[in-house]
């Protein structure tokens, strides 16, 4: 059995390595998730910034020796010496992160807690819910000048914003010896967890429905971005203006839009040159939706004018390029 002094000496030696290991895991997961959820910004997807946290020495020692955990080998068995937490909006997002954790190549991942499995096993209980993984480094390597040893654990917690709220309220209190959890307190906590699980379920329903409604728009947005870069020879700029214009003009894109746009543009090669020429000084020509606007104006000059979010001044050059009169 390791003594407190031996434990402490080893921890002093390895603390920086653990910190670097935490930063490595955070960096890898952040970039994997970012490319997975793009074009949604990572900062939008993660509701709380991810900060790898190394356990405070004092609480580490207390956990190892004084909390009746009876670890035969406490240094190895305490797996949350460094940890990080991902907080997202809905349960589907939790699963997205889980997939990235499982498919990471820099570690072996072992699931330590899964709220869905807990629900299966203890259907009558409403208690702390979260998804926990313990990631262990495979081989020794160096990251940011620090040596990362093989088999170092790092705890990754993934939960929804509501699960996080519950945990913030209860975790440091009702599970602590100093608090006598009365039946009334336990009952109140269980009631709020039950409510949170129900709400999370409704959130998921709402988020899936919205996702389903946005799917065609996403496909159109992706298609226009791709065509823009090919046809104009520049990378288009997404964002609110692009979204607004696609939303307004999408009803001009019929069932065979991709084929029809292709054919239409092939008769108007000069448009690529004109858009390219204006793109540097006019943001309207940098959004991929500009192709949809040209298409709408070219085929339906009268209807494209109705309730347009663009001013006549902005539309005039587009009508002029296509040989159409904007007014009578």
């Amino acid at each position: 059995m390791i003594t407190e002094d031996e434990f402490l000496e080893r921890w002093r030696r390895e603390e920086q390595s653990y910190a670097a290991w935490g930063r490595y895991v955070a960096h890898e997961l952040r970039s994997a998730i970012a490319s997975r959820v793009s074009p949604t910004k990572l900062e939008m997807f993660l509701k709380i910034p991810v900060q790898p946290r190394v356990k405070n020495t004092e609480s580490l020692l207390q956990k190892a020796f004084h909390r009746k955990k009876d670890y035969p080998n406490p240094y190895e068995q305490i797996e949350d010496k460094v940890g990080l937490r991902f907080v997202v909006l809905v349960e589907d997002d939790v699963r997205t992160i889980e997939e990235e954790v499982e498919s990471g190549t820099g570690w072996t991942a072992q699931k330590a807690k899964d709220f869905e499995e807990d629900r299966e096993q203890r259907p009558y209980e409403f208690d702390y819910q979260s998804l926990h993984y313990v990631l262990r480094s495979k081989d020794e390597f160096t990251f940011e000048g620090e040596r990362i040893l093989a088999d170092m654990p790092c705890e990754v917690q993934v939960r929804t914003l509501l699960q996080h709220a519950y945990s913030e309220l209860t975790h440091d209190t009702i599970y602590k010896p100093s608090v006598t959890a009365t039946p009334a307190l336990k009952r109140a906590a269980a009631k709020s967890m039950a409510l949170i699980e129900a709400t999370d379920g409704f959130f998921t329903e709402v988020s899936r429905t919205i996702g389903g409604m946005l799917a065609p728009d996403r496909a159109l947005t992706g298609f226009l971005a791709e065509r823009y870069s090919q046809f104009v020879g520049l990378e288009g700029v997404g964002g609110p203006l692009n979204k607004l214009l696609i939303d307004h003009y999408k009803h001009f894109a019929g069932d065979h839009f991709s084929r029809e746009l292709e054919m239409w543009l092939s008769h108007k090669p000069f448009l690529g040159r004109l858009i390219h020429g204006r793109a540097s000084s006019n943001s309207l020509y940098r959004v991929p939706a500009i192709l949809l606007i040209y298409y709408a104006v070219g085929n339906n000059p009268k209807m494209a004018l109705q309730d347009s979010p663009l001013s006549d001044e902005e539309l005039e050059p587009i009508y002029s390029d296509l040989g159409e009169a904007i007014h009578g």
């Binding site: 008769h267 108007k268 090669p269 000069f270 085929n299 339906n300 000059p301 009268k302 209807m303 109705q306 040989g323 009169a325 009578g328």
Partner: protein
């Protein structure tokens, strides 16, 4: 002032030469100069949004290889070209100055416009009443309007609902009907314009002059049978002629 300019036009960069007879105007320009605002009178400015273009001519070289004048298209706009002025004021610009003449195929193009528009209306999904209104308008537009030229756009804007205007434009484009001005010439349409024929299956036919229809001396009304004292929703037609029968053959 006469402005002469050149450039290229269209998908294939066809070279063109253009002339504009521009009216001169004067106006004020505001300049913010730090704290003070300077207002300056500008004289002899032209092509402002407020001035109408009175005379514009463009010569477009559609094909470089064709023997002149075949490769060229001449386009002239003159707001003096109205029935009354056709021979006087306007003639100098398009004929004396630009060396152009009215196209000789007006009769053919007018008849084609008439037929295509009727085809479009028949195939459109406009309600029956609106179809008849547009057809009535077409007869009037072709026959009684006096301006020597017309364009398909002009007709569409006057008589078609907005969404249908775009469909009409696309229909004519697919049929290669020109969007430029057409010389109004009804000589090929003679009989068609004199009377309109309505068929009711194979059992009945009815003829009326467009004037009688537009002046409501003959009224044609359609609707469900109940409206006319019958039974059910079958569509019936009622014709009211404000006149007694004068002859029967």
């Amino acid at each position: 002032m006469l402005i002469v300019f050149d450039g290229t036009v269209g998908a294939h960069d066809a070279p063109f030469l253009g002339v504009i007879k521009a009216e001169m105007q004067s106006g004020f320009q505001r300049q913010d100069d730090g704290g003070s605002t300077i207002t300056q009178l500008l004289k002899d400015i032209f092509l402002t949004k407020a001035t109408r273009l009175y005379k514009v001519g463009m010569m477009v070289q559609e094909s470089v290889s064709a023997k002149r004048p075949d490769g060229w298209t001449a386009l002239v706009f003159d707001n003096n070209i109205t029935q009354s002025h056709r021979e006087a004021a306007a003639q100098y610009f398009f004929e004396g100055f630009l060396g152009c003449a009215f196209r000789g195929d007006g009769a053919y193009e007018t008849a084609r416009f008439f037929d295509l528009t009727r085809e479009f209306v028949a195939r459109s999904n406009l309600p029956t009443e609106e179809k008849r209104d547009v057809n009535d308008a077409l007869y009037t537009y072709i026959k009684t309007e006096k301006s020597p030229t017309f364009t398909a756009d002009e007709f569409a804007e006057k008589y078609l609902p907005k969404p249908t205007q775009d469909l009409f434009r696309n229909f004519l484009e697919a049929k290669h009907f020109p969007r430029r001005g057409i010389v109004r010439d009804t000589s090929r349409l003679g009989a068609k314009l004199r009377r309109r024929r309505f068929k009711f299956g194979s059992a009945a036919e009815f003829f009326a002059s467009p004037e009688a229809l537009s002046q409501r001396k003959v009224e044609i009304e359609t609707g469900p049978a109940q409206k006319f004292g019958g039974d059910g929703d079958e569509i019936w037609t009622r014709i009211v002629v404000h006149q007694s029968v004068t002859e029967e053959r």
